[in-house]
């Protein structure tokens, strides 16, 4: 070990765990491929005729992403890519399975595959070209403006696709249609993060104290009100409850994380409640959504899809009917909004819960990256992206399983749709580069005074933070990190 070879210089080399990632990716691809083959076996009675081609795609695509990560961000978290790969693979399989209901089969899976290719290409761009998230901090207002414009784009006549399924959230450019809110989500998360990092000290200044909670100063409420009004506009003019909720939740959470003031969360909840009540009374669309959520069997025409989704879940039961053995086609939008219930029907509670846990894994890895990150922008961005990912999963899966009123959000990596697919791959790319920056050995060499006291620190426990905890030296010698976190060695009083 270098630490013992040369007591004056300490080199910390954390384990990159790229090979673990590779095997996990191979496992995810193999699982998706097996599921794909099983669909054809069960529906058509034979293996898919294009099995070799699909196998090549299933293994090569994620391995390309893996190679880019290995090359450019080798310290990135090794679990995130395999999780995204598995979700994407299962999503494609499910869309293919629903394609087969039609005769001749529809081509949803092929389109979705093209979007996946584009998504993974974007991931590679993020990983290979951007590589470090910190420069993104320089584009606060540009990104914020573009994000807001994108968010409101579906209201622009000429490119708006108009009212689709009760909500106006699509635009069309030539033959392509697009849900710009998905891309806007990523841009605004970056913009929020850098804005809040800049302003958090001001925002954290206490104003009045109510019921033991420090509320911010009134003059600092400006930004939150602006975002609140924007999300309300999305709700009122685009009829999109889900996106509105998602953005506002994202902003309030990031505000709370950056200022560490629960007062912001309280204000956010109050504003959200006000917005929700307003939406309920102002928009018939919201009222209907709530009504069919509470009493789906009272009006079976309006709640048809929700009722069918419930039947699908019940039909799946504990272990599911088996891929290709259920009847997800009876539920409208089985391959998009309701893909989670399609999964629940064929893979059962076990399969659906496994998928939810994989989402949970991605979120936990993201939040862990946020915790470990040493600079506020990356911390905030990782936390914001992870939370919005979690919130989106919660809102849509909760919506289709009748835990919440149904909102028209996409199920990340699974539901059919290009905008969501590429946006989520970019989110994964951002989380990967942040985690790379976090786990990358900082100050790979440091002067060590042999007489100094050795203190081992875990990354993320910045020594000037109030949460610094010295880990006892009995833990081991420096440089023999036996987990996947790099171990840093600081020497107190050793500086010359």
């Amino acid at each position: 070990m270098s630490a013992t070879d040369n007591p004056a210089m300490v080199t910390v080399v954390p384990r990159k765990r790229r090979t673990v990632e590779m095997f996990l990716v191979l496992f995810a691809s193999a699982l998706s491929l097996a599921a794909y083959a099983q669909v054809d076996l069960n529906v058509q009675g034979h293996l898919p005729t294009n099995l070799t081609l699909v196998a090549v795609i299933a293994f090569v695509l994620p391995l390309l992403a893996h190679a880019a990560i290995r090359w450019r961000v080798p310290y990135a978290d090794p679990v995130i890519l395999p999780c995204a790969t598995l979700l994407n693979g299962l999503g494609l399989t499910m869309i293919h399975r629903i394609d087969l209901i039609n005769d001749p089969p529809s081509t949803g899976a092929t389109q979705q595959l093209l979007w996946t290719v584009l998504g993974i290409a974007l991931l590679i761009v993020v990983v290979a070209v951007i590589r470090d998230h910190r420069p993104l901090q320089g584009f606060t207002y540009t990104l914020g403006l573009v994000g807001l414009v994108l968010l409101l784009l579906p209201l622009v006549p000429g490119i708006s696709s108009g009212d689709v399924g009760g909500a106006q959230i699509w635009i069309h450019l030539g033959p392509l249609s697009f849900q710009p809110a998905e891309v806007s989500k990523v841009l605004l998360a970056i913009a929020f993060a850098s804005y809040l990092v800049e302003k958090r000290d001001v925002l954290a200044l206490a104003g009045w104290r109510v019921l033991g909670i420090d509320l911010p100063r009134a003059r600092d409420l400006g930004p939150i009100l602006l975002v609140w009004l924007t999300t309300l506009a999305v709700l009122v003019f685009q009829n999109d409850l889900g996106t509105s909720l998602l953005f506002f939740g994202l902003f309030v959470t990031m505000l709370y994380v950056s200022t560490q003031r629960p007062g912001w969360a309280v204000i956010g909840l109050v504003l959200f409640a006000a917005g929700a009540v307003f939406g309920y009374f102002a928009r018939g669309h919201v009222r209907i959504r709530v009504a069919i959520w509470l009493h789906p069997f009272a009006n079976i025409n309006e709640s048809y899809q929700l009722i069918q989704a419930q039947f699908g879940l019940a039909w799946g039961g504990l272990l599911g009917r088996g891929l290709g053995e259920g009847r997800p086609g009876l539920t409208p939008l089985a391959r998009s909004d309701f893909i989670a219930t399609s999964l629940g029907e064929e893979l059962g509670m076990a399969g659906l819960f496994a998928v939810i846990m994989i989402y949970g894994l991605i979120v936990s890895r993201g939040l862990r990256t946020a915790l470990a990150c040493r600079e506020p922008f990356g911390k905030l961005l990782a936390a914001g992206l992870s939370f919005s990912f979690a919130l989106q999963v919660f809102l849509i899966i909760g919506g289709v399983t009748r835990l919440l009123p149904l909102t028209g959000l996409t199920t990340p990596f699974m539901s059919q749709g290009g905008s969501s697919m590429i946006a989520n791959w970019v989110v994964i790319g951002l989380l990967l580069i942040i985690s790379h920056q976090v786990r990358r050995p900082v100050a790979t060499t440091q002067d060590v005074d042999p007489g100094g006291e050795l203190i081992f620190e875990r990354p993320g426990q910045v020594s000037d933070s109030e949460e610094t905890q010295a880990i006892p030296a009995t833990r081991g010698t420096g440089g023999t990190a036996d987990d996947d976190q790099p171990t840093q060695i600081h020497v107190r009083g050793g500086h010359r």
Binding site: T253, Y256, V257, S258, Q260, F297, I300, I307, Q310, F311, G312, L313, A314, W315, G316, G317, L318, G326, R327, L330, G344, G348, M349, L352, F353, I356, Y359, G360, V363, S364, L367, A370, L371, P376, K379, L380, A383, S386, F387, A390, L391, V393, F394, I397, G398, T401, R402, L403, G460, S465, E467
Partner: protein, 482 residues
């Protein structure tokens, strides 16, 4: 910033826990109620594609499932569908199930708890599940005789084994073909269903058990039973039989059939039943009182539902009636209403020494490997009259067929007892014709009730004896070996 991030992480954990809890609730706890929902096509389609057990009459299947090469793997088939429709009911995609298909649905489908072990064995051995078969008490010969004898007349016929209460035949006309409604061609099935439902003749109604009509003079059997039991009368007692009787409290006179005399100012009970003397029976009813008559009707089964397997209707003897209404009720008019099944039960109790047996139509449920899963034990329902009085009443019924209005039911070599009825429900429509019978009189094996709703013959000719008795005769001939 780590503290808020940790709190956010806990929030995220809570959100995901909610997702899992809610998923468990729907997919485990709500599962059976969602699957049982009528709107659930997944469950409905699977039920519809099941290899259901057969429904048997004697040794012949009157409903069975045969493999079919379409999306529903088994087609329900009803040989002689029209003849057995009131019993089997139908098994349809869009219109549910009726009859035994409905009441024994879980057994036929194989999803009943009693078939649990069988289901597990099928699961392990990878056999397609198969339903239990239902053995009915129907005697195909009697059923066929009744069906053919009714011909094109609108009406119904029921036969009961008086000793056990087993239903031997149950025919309702006009009928429908359940095969058309059970078709896998959903569109044509729906058309057939709509056609049957819109048909003014109501081919889908089970006139034998699920409809009630004024029983007319056949109800005089109940009045006679009450008179023997509670009125201190015997078959030889003389009763007043005026040509017409002023209904108490009104200015309306009750006359006899065709306004004729019953054969004197005073005649015996036997004679009164022979000629179905209205004035005599109205007088007897007035003497007995409403409570006694109502009580006796109740003991014969009026006012309660029997044969729940087919959802039979309860027959009615009205409450709170005045004297004139009582007089009319005594002869089976006013608001007295009975199903043919009920009238067969009246005869059956008289035939079985006064013991009324609970009618039943399913004798056994058998698993696919012919193991008996359940067997119906004949059960006594009530004793409307003593064995002695039952025998007297039986002799009076024999006299009706020998000397009275029921001569059309005579069969050489078999002692037949019976009672005719003609009920005027509404002056604008044709009266109902009834006949109820028991045979052989020395050891009754069958009790029959025949009801004809709307016979296509001139009005004055309608009488239970002329129209309904031949049907009863045909049924008795089919049932009783000479």
């Amino acid at each position: 910033m780590n503290k808020p991030i940790r709190r956010v992480s806990i929030l995220v954990m809570a959100l995901f826990a909610l997702l899992l809890a809610n998923g468990t609730y729907i997919m485990v706890f709500e599962q059976s109620s969602l699957n049982a929902n009528q709107l659930n096509r997944r469950a409905r389609d699977e039920d519809f594609a099941q290899n259901r057990g057969s429904i048997l009459a004697g040794d012949t299947a009157i409903a069975y499932s045969k493999p079919s090469n379409d999306r529903f793997k088994y087609q329900r088939v009803y040989p002689d569908g029209k003849m057995y429709a009131p019993i089997t009911g139908f098994f349809s995609y869009d219109h549910g199930t009726t009859g035994l298909e409905n009441s024994y649905n879980t057994q036929l489908a194989g999803t009943d708890d009693s078939l649990f072990v069988r289901r597990m064995v099928d699961l392990v051995t990878n056999q397609p599940p198969q339903g239990a078969s239902i053995q009915t008490t129907i005697n195909p010969a009697v059923q066929k005789a009744a069906y053919n004898a009714l011909g094109d007349q609108k009406g119904a016929a029921v036969a009961i084994d008086p000793k056990t209460g087993a239903i031997l035949a149950m025919v309702s006309k006009p009928s429908f073909d359940p095969n058309t409604v059970a078709s896998h061609d959903i569109e044509s099935a729906n058309k057939a269903y709509t056609k049957a439902v819109k048909d003014p003749d109501n081919p889908m109604s089970n006139r034998a058990a699920r409809e009630i009509y004024p029983p007319g003079s056949t109800f005089k059997l109940v009045t006679t039973a009450a008179a023997l039991e509670k009125g201190g009368l015997t078959p030889d007692s003389k009763v007043a039989s005026p040509n017409r009787l002023l209904l108490p409290g009104t200015s309306t006179y009750l006359s006899n059939e065709n306004g004729e005399s019953c054969g004197g100012a005073k005649i015996t009970m036997t004679q009164a039943l022979d000629v179905s003397c209205n004035t005599a029976y109205a007088g007897i009813g007035l003497k007995l009182g409403a409570d006694t008559l109502s009580n006796e009707a109740g003991k014969f089964g009026f006012g309660s539902r029997h044969l729940s397997d087919l959802g039979a209707a309860a027959s009615v003897f009205p409450d709170d009636i005045n004297e004139s209404q009582l007089a009319l009720c005594s002869i089976g008019q006013y608001e007295v209403a009975a199903s043919p099944l009920q009238m067969a039960m009246v005869s059956a109790a008289i035939a079985n020494d006064g013991v009324l047996m609970d009618p039943y139509i399913v004798s056994e449920v058998r698993s696919p490997d012919l193991q008996v899963l359940s067997r119906t034990k004949p059960q006594e329902l009530d004793r409307p009259l003593s064995a002695d009085n039952a025998n007297k009443l039986k002799q009076m019924m024999v006299s009706v067929v020998q000397n009275g209005t029921g001569t059309a039911a005579q069969i050489p070599g078999i002692g037949v007892g019976g009672k005719t009825g003609t009920a005027q429900s509404d002056p604008t429509r044709k009266p109902y014709a009834w006949f109820t019978a028991i045979a052989p009189s020395d050891d009754p094996q069958i009790a029959v009730a025949v009801f004809i709703e709307d016979a296509n013959i001139p009005r004055e000719d309608i009488a239970g004896g002329a129209l309904a008795a031949p049907v009863a005769k045909a049924m008795i001939e089919a049932a009783v070996k000479k």
